[in-house]
Each structure stands twice: as structure tokens, then as C-alpha cells.
Symmetry: C2
Subunit: 344 residues, 2 copies
Amino acid sequence: MDEVGAKAKTMKSTILHGIRVALLEIGSATTVELSDKLGISFPTISKFLGQMEKDGELILTGLDHSSGGRRAKRYTYNPEYKLGLALFMEENETNYVIFNCFGEVKEQGKTEPALMDDGFSLLTKDIEKLMEKYPHVSSMAIGVPGSVDNGRIFFIPGYKHIQDFDLKGYFEDQFSLPVVVENDMNAAVLGYHHNGKIKHNHSLIYLYSGQNGPGAGIMINGGVVRGSTFFSGEVSFVPQYDDRNFLRALGKGKKTDKKAIREEYEIDAISRLVASFTAIINPKTIIFCNDEVDESILARISVRSSTYIPANHLPELVASDWKQDYLCGLQVLGLKLMLAEESN
Amino acid sequence: MDEVGAKAKTMKSTILHGIRVALLEIGSATTVELSDKLGISFPTISKFLGQMEKDGELILTGLDHSSGGRRAKRYTYNPEYKLGLALFMEENETNYVIFNCFGEVKEQGKTEPALMDDGFSLLTKDIEKLMEKYPHVSSMAIGVPGSVDNGRIFFIPGYKHIQDFDLKGYFEDQFSLPVVVENDMNAAVLGYHHNGKIKHNHSLIYLYSGQNGPGAGIMINGGVVRGSTFFSGEVSFVPQYDDRNFLRALGKGKKTDKKAIREEYEIDAISRLVASFTAIINPKTIIFCNDEVDESILARISVRSSTYIPANHLPELVASDWKQDYLCGLQVLGLKLMLAEESN
DNA sequence: GGAACTTATTAAACCTCTTTAAAAAGTTTA
DNA sequence: TAAACTTTTTAAAGAGGTTTAATAAGTTCC
């Protein structure tokens, strides 16, 4: 735990990881470009690139045009070298995606719901079929609507039988590949963060008024906030009025089907929440689901919030596609696993 | 920015830093103990220890009792090898501390206030005298009641003339040693975190109802939360009742002198804030100033908070000495600078 | 009290990445 | 078209940390 960052043993994987990330980020590169970017000498880079090309992890796309000297070899990462499987479980279905290292979707679909009793065996069989079809799959990222602690489902309302279940361990044993499990909101905020190509470690909050009551995914300084009892983001409980918290202010006792936010009392409740977020965390952006708000609603929230907080400190309010961000976040997590693998 | 963590050049300072931290943490150690703890081979450790002993940075305290073999040399860090200066500026005075690497205070005192016009030149002269008296001082940590961005005073209410002033740059030029500048609440939360010997990266919130209105220092995942416009922790603005935010709920319009919290309406306002913190961040601990609350008040807040939030998710509420934590936090920041120095 | 066993330190061989130099491959200019 | 100049790649030398072996220093047992 106190270990020095990169000792000799981990050096190889550190470099490998660096090359992969850099190459994916900038699309293609030459030895020198990578050397500059990573601060590693070009002979070392050269050696690694040679090996990676042999393994099929890289593609030699050709030679650069010369600017007065020998032409440089230009490499691209082979996106098909490894694939990933991302899936998230919901009440009635399981959405999955097979994606490559560029984030391109090879196949997308729905399959068995797994959260109910006995759901896992059905799902496992479906995944087995997928694995046969795509033998290059080498990571799994799973999203669940509950609290997760290192792959174990810590708390998941409504599905008692899988509470305390070690989902990560289960699938790792089953398919012998690295698995990551994440909470839905956390994955979504991660996905948005990645999608927006946000430079560096801004704070984000993803707000979602789901069926099971509202929740928020919070990202601060580039890391997801989990909370000491995995309770962070349970904004239902924020006291807002003399005798109402956020949940009751939204009038959500009576499980309505309607999604869109429209009413004045909703606007005010959300604006107060935005104000609370700002006064406490002061995030760069708050993300809403685009099936719940539109631009005009956002504008109203923005105006209303500024009655509570100096406008110049208010976060940017945006609408985004929740499911897409969710899947994207899972893909990011899966990709991380793939890029970290020794693969040797 | 994308550089691989520890390349050869930084290796030396990484190891040096690791040895220093480990040695200060565990008090004393032998070559093998350090090697185990840091994951670095003992010949390397041995070489470094030899050099550090020559430099006077280490003290050979003697030989371990043998457990059947050659007796091992036991080293201790020499706390006087480097000293640090920590100071914080307030309206009417500047508190300072000279401390060694064990955190032991060599001298403590008050000196010129620096926040008013022309205060800096007086303070600078006083510091010069201190530096002559303690030539081993090799870092400075400065606390200010305002927002700080990388040593620059970003926003400081009431002292317009030093707004946007590069305090870090000024003192670094003046005394040619590393300087760190930090906001008061952030330093305090850091100090408490360090003082409590908290294992790992819990979330903490330091709540303070200062003269200039309440504020909070927030630490999440081991890092201080600054906010996108350096507005985080400005909890005055949290909407709490139909028509009152936290500041107004405390009845603080009329700048009262009284400090202690007693009234029922205060308890409720604070409890609602605790509930908001919990629902959003879910911190491990919330720290209050011990001149504002006592155990019975904390108990009342705790009970009241649990009317808003399930009690098992509520943070631990504690009282602590603000000035002491503040200074301690500054010391931690200064110490960090000292331990990172190449010193070669 | 010496033989056998433990453990810490020192020394030597080794591996890996970096630095520096040389070679290879292109482009431009006389 | 050959000489001069650029730039990349390959090769060799160098530096720093690790691994392995050898040595030094203690302890225990007969």
C-alpha cells in the first residue's frame, strides 16, 4: 500500500499501458511522437512497438511523408485485437454491447433479465453464446442499480436475494477474464465525462429521477464519490422546505409514470437541489436525462437557481442520453481493464 | 501530462520520498523493514540510507537485538534536519509556528497582521528574522481566509487589494524555498484528517460558523474539494426552509458575537445541513469547532438529523480545535514540500 | 567452547531503460 | 546526379535498481 509507484516489475506494464492509451487517444503515431508524449526513450518505444506489431496489437498503416529525411513508420492500434462486453441489468431486461477498443459497437441487444430469482443462470448461458461468437472478448463491465463495493453488490433495493453477492468474482470464475461492476449512476457520470472529452478532472453530477426515486452520480476531482456507507447521491433525503425533502417536494410518493418535468413546484425543488450542489460541491456541470428535461426546462431551472445562488457560480446544466452515457461509462471501465492487461 | 509515472530521472526522488515518509510514519526502521514496506530491494535502500546518514538526515540509533543472526542497524529520521514555517493570516494577527519533521513545535507566536494595506512588508521583515534564527527552515505553508488557486489568492472577501495576488510566487522569490498557500477551511480539514491518523481517504467535512458567515472544508477520497469556481463549501446558500437558506436560518444577518450553538432553530438548521451532506456526499465524519458545540449539542444534532436521514448512514459528529487543526494542516502541507525536495 | 544454524550486510552479476553514436533512408541543391 | 543536409532507425555504451551469491556477525546446542 505504501509501494513506490512504478518499480521495475511493473515498468513493462506501465509502458505498455501508456503506449496503448496514447495511441488510442491520438489515433496514430510514430515512434518519436510516442516517445515525446510519454517521456520514454525512443529505443524503448521502438522495442515495444515491434513486439506489439508481431502480436497483432498494432497495424502499420504506412510511412509518413518525409520532411527532409527518412520516412517514419506510422502505427495505429488494432481495434479488433481485443473486444469488450458491457451490460447493465434492469428490472425487465439486460442491455448488452460488444465493443472494440475504439468504442465502436459490434453488436448491441437485450437479453434475459437477471435481477429476479434464478436470473443469473439464464444470463450466464446467453453470455456464453456471445463469448463463442466473439472469442476476442477480454473484459466484462457490468452495471447494476445498486451500491457496489469492489465487485460485490453491497445494497440493492428490491432484489434481496442478490444482496451481498460477489458479482465480479462470479463472472471472473465463470469466464476467466477481468470483470468490473459499477453502480448505474456512477457509470453514467463516468460515461458522460468520457464522452464530453472533458480535459481534466472537473466535478460532475448526473441527476436522474428514476422509477425508484431520484438519485445522483457524483464525480469529484476525476473520481467517483461512493460515500462512507455507499449512500452518496441519495438526494431524495435532502431537506428543502419546512416539511418536505426533495422526494416529497417532487410529489413522488405516488409512483407516477410521467417522466417529463414541467410543473413549477418541480422546477423549484430541482433548482433548490442545484443550489445545494453548488453551495457544497460547486460542480462544473449537472447532467439531466434528456427524456425528463428539455432546453426550456433547463433554462427555467437555471433562472430559478440563480435566486438561491450567485449566477456566476452556477454549474452548466445540460441534458444527455442516460442509457447511452451508462453504456459508455461501462465501456470506459471495461476498456480500462483491457488496456491494463499484460496480455503476454 | 501523460507521462509515465516514474521514469529513471524521478526514480531517485521517488525512492527518497518513500524512505522519508515510511521512516517518519513508523518511527524507526532497518534496511530490511524499509525494503519490505516499500517494495524496493535492500541493496538500493542500503545505498540510500548510507548517503542520508552521511548528510545527517538520518540518525543511527543502535543495533537491533538479534533473533539468531547478525544484528541489524536501526535508523531514525533526524527531525531537526529540516524545519518548516507555517503561518496563517487573520484580520488582526498572523499566527506562526516553526516545526520540525516530527511535527514538534519549536516556536509559536503571533506577529504583524498582513491582510491590511501594506501588511506584507512588515510581515516579510518578521519572517526574515525568523529565518535567521532558524536557518534550517526549508518550507513555508501559508493559510488565508480566501480561495486559493495554485498559490494565487483567487478571491478573498474584504481584502480587495490582495485579490489576485500571487502569494506563493512572492514568498518563493523572497526566501527561495518552496511555498504552499491554502484556504483556511481546506487546511483545517487536512489537519484533522492527518491528526486523527485516519487510515485511508475517508470523506470529511469541517464545518465552521466563522465571523464572515459559515463555511465548510470538504475532503473527498483524500483530496480537497475546490469547486469549479472555488465556491465549494459556501454552505450559507443551501436552501433549507420555504424561505430561508442556511445563513438566514442561523439568524446570522445581525453579526452577533456569540459563538456557542444552543437554540433549537440552530440545531434544526445544522441538522438539515448534516442531512444534506449525508444525502449528497455521505461523509465519514463532520467536524465542528469545539468553541461552538459540545457533546450535548452534538447529541442533539445527531438525534435531529436522524429525523431526516436513516441513522445508520449518518456521519460521526465530532468537535475539534479549529486553530490547532488549521495549523496542523498547514504543517502537513509544508512537510509534504520538505519530503519531496531533492535536497541534493 | 566450537560446530551448526540465522540473519544482516557487502559484493558481484544481471537486466532494463536511457543516452549517445552510427547507420540507413529521403530530400534538396549545385 | 552527386554532394550536403534531415530525419528515422538500429546499434552500442552507460546508469540505476534487482537478483543472486558471498561474507560478516550473532546465537544456540551439544
